[in-house]
Amino acid sequence: MTAADISAADPHWIGHGAHAATGHGAGGPASKRIIVGYGFWIFLLSDIVMFSAFFAAYAVLRDATAGGPGGAELFNLHNTALQTACLLASSFACGLASLAVQARHGGWYYVTMTITFVLGAAFIVLEAREFADLVARGAGPTRSAFLSAFFTLVGCHGLHVTCGLLWLLTMMAQAFAKGFRPDILRRFLCFSLFWHALDIIWVALFTVVYLMGVHA
């Protein structure tokens, strides 16, 4: 079908936008990659809005310790610093993985994705140990409203990271089984956005929950 045929059947190129579109509104929709990335960006922002509700609950319930222990007695900042280092390095490794995808370099892709996974898993192990330690010291989520809010907020982030790790393994398997096809590239783009966004939420978490819980 030539351009003249399309123009005759579809004068505004509405159904054939991707062949001529610039993504600036004229000529039809942008390419699938742009639309998928933008849609996932909207999802991430709504996920962040959901987190903001948990942050608001935590901020309101921070001092509602019901006579139990507060943040200054409970939190171990060495553990938090280690978790922060793991997640930041993991985010960096994920960035290198997306460069490997750009270069269509399979070897670097698997190496950097494995590093991303190991660091993310280390983060989850550290968090699980912290939670187990808190519960063993009688500071579980049922102890006070403060601790309920703490476990909800931090646990929700941990759950996101766990899901991200499963997604990471899926992306390695799909790249292995199907290669760097356009649809796999779009999925990887969404995964890398997700992983970087989790690190941004962790920045807010270690500041508001841990550092301000201990020092302020």
């Binding site: 991707a18 062949h19 579109a21 610039t22 993504g23 600036h24 942008a30 390419s31 699938k32 990659r33 742009i34 998928v36 990335g37 933008y38 960006w41 909207i42 922002l45 709504s46 962040i48 809005v49 903001s52 509700a53 942050f55 608001a56 609950a57 901020a59 309101v60 900042l77 610093a81 922060t84 930041l88 985010s91 960096f92 960035g95 290198l96 997306s98 460069l99 750009q102 270069a103 096809r181 356009p182 649809d183 783009l189 890398s192 956005l193 970087h196 966004a197 690190d199 941004i200 920045v203 807010a204 270690f206 500041t207 508001v208 550092l211 301000m212 201990v214 020092h215 302020a216």
Partner: protein, 139 residues
Amino acid sequence: MSHADTEHADLGRRDARVDAFDTVPGQESASDQEITHGVRTYLIGLALAILLTVLSFWIPTTQLVWGPGIPVALIVFAIAQMGVHLVFFLHITTSPDNTNNVLALAFGVLIVLLVIGGSVWIMANMNYNMMPRDAPMQM
């Protein structure tokens, strides 16, 4: 080569052609695919993020900042670090091809500020009004 492969290769070429005018979050500038440039961007982002994280953990243990000002300093460092992550890791920029992403982000930030600021404000106000009349004022 199967039909599906041909179709995918075609889709890839078409996307590359169309994407010269638009970028998604997380994507390097479409015109500059240089890998070395990409590595440098991530390294700069990593260095800035490490600097801000170390400052956040270190400042409260020193006497450099006036005690009650420490939360403000921590929040400033956190917002700066989120900005670093957005620019160097998610590649959100001010260029015209990023307008949609920036506008969505701005709307998200507005909602986040309304939810957190509104909750804290209302609940602090309520706590203040619920205080017994004869109790000493403790804020």
